[in-house]
């Protein structure tokens, strides 16, 4: 069985298989990633860089979308 890490996703604990990339995490939580901005430790991770960006234990990940606003 592969080892797990825990990241902080939008302020909540999220377990992930060790070695997961940002793109893997998006699939795991059910997002197609197209309309989501991803920040890892406050750095924006652009879509083309998500498959190569491997998440580490304790990484703080923020996922942001566009919602209604004036």
């Amino acid at each position: 069985m592969s080892q797990m890490i825990t990241i902080e996703l939008n302020g909540q604990q999220q377990p992930l298989p060790t070695g997961s990339a940002v793109s893997d995490m998006l699939s795991i939580i059910g997002s197609d990633g197209k309309s989501v901005a991803v920040l890892v430790n406050q750095q924006i991770i652009r879509p083309e860089n998500r498959p190569a960006r491997i998440l580490q234990e304790g990484d703080q990940v923020e996922l942001l979308i566009f919602a209604g606003g004036g």
């Binding site: 939008n10 302020g11 939580i29 059910g30 997002s31 197209k34 309309s35 989501v36 901005a37 920040l39 406050q42 924006i44 652009r46 923020e62 996922l63 942001l64 979308i65 566009f66 919602a67 209604g68 606003g69 004036g70």
Partner: protein, 259 residues
């Protein structure tokens, strides 16, 4: 053709619509279509997998001719607003950013100092900066000098429906400004939007008045017509006001005149 010019972008609609406070995404989308708005504001929010329908990027982008203008709502400092703008640009692919920094939830008045600083930084980075400000002609001029694409003075407090309480100050801003002046916030009725346009505003931004109307799509259409009428009246040139009556019909007596 009479177009609204913001940076290198041009728009035939002068109604900018906000997307907050609608009862559902479906009603909001109907209102956007009915309004004919080509610039539509959105806000950044954390993704919530239980509320995936809140994600408006896809449905709004699917409406032809709509450009997104993200806001920095939630920021209470210039640094936070700049960070929000960078994230928003990643998502929207649009250079427009509505700089909105209001630290006090009681009155939602914009912080002029933080707003100026954020606008200065973002304009230098190439954003089309649309700052939401109090109706202050001095601040408006300073924002123009640092390269904002427009200034957006409030008519009255956000969501208050108190209309053009700051009309006199907005007129001063228009008189001094070389960039578009867009009234943002506080409008309740289409007649107020028409009034703003007759004064010489280049556009108006409306959200609550449409979102919480009995029939939002119909109200969106009413605002679009009022904005167009107000603009046409401004271009046509309003008559001068006079302190006394000036007759429109001949006053020479003819009844009982001897032929």
């Amino acid at each position: 053709m009479d177009l609204l010019q913001l940076g290198s972008y041009t728009f035939s609609s002068r109604l900018i619509l906000g997307t907050g406070k609608f009862s559902s995404a479906a009603v909001m989308l109907q209102a956007v279509r009915a309004s004919g708005a080509q610039l539509v504001t959105v806000a950044l929010r954390r993704f919530n997998r239980e509320q995936a329908e809140d994600d408006l990027f896809g449905p709004l982008s699917a409406i032809e001719g709509v450009t997104l203008m993200p806001n920095t709502s939630g920021a209470s400092t210039a640094a936070e607003a700049v960070r929000a703008a960078h994230i928003a640009r990643e998502l929207s692919g649009s250079p427009f950013i509505k700089v909105e920094i209001h630290p006090n939830p009681q009155h939602l008045m914009p912080d002029p100092i933080e707003t100026f600083e954020a606008a200065r930084i973002l304009a230098k980075e190439g954003f089309l900066v649309m700052p939401y400000i109090t109706a202050d002609p001095v601040l408006a001029k300073r924002l123009e000098e640092v390269g904002c694409a427009a200034v957006m003075p409030l008519g009255s407090a956000i969501g208050s429906g108190q209309g053009l309480a700051s009309a006199a100050m907005i007129e001063l801003i228009i008189r001094e400004s070389s960039i578009p002046v867009i009234v943002d916030a506080g409008l309740r009725s289409p007649s107020e939007a028409a009034h703003a346009m007759e004064m010489g505003c280049e556009a108006v931004l409306v959200n609550s008045a449409v979102a919480v109307a009995g029939n939002p799509p119909e109200m969106a259409e009413a605002f679009a017509e009022a904005v167009a009428a107000g603009r046409k009246a401004f271009r046509a040139g309003l008559m001068q006001k006079s302190g006394s009556a000036i007759a429109t019909s001949p006053l020479t007596s003819f009844l009982g005149a001897n032929g």
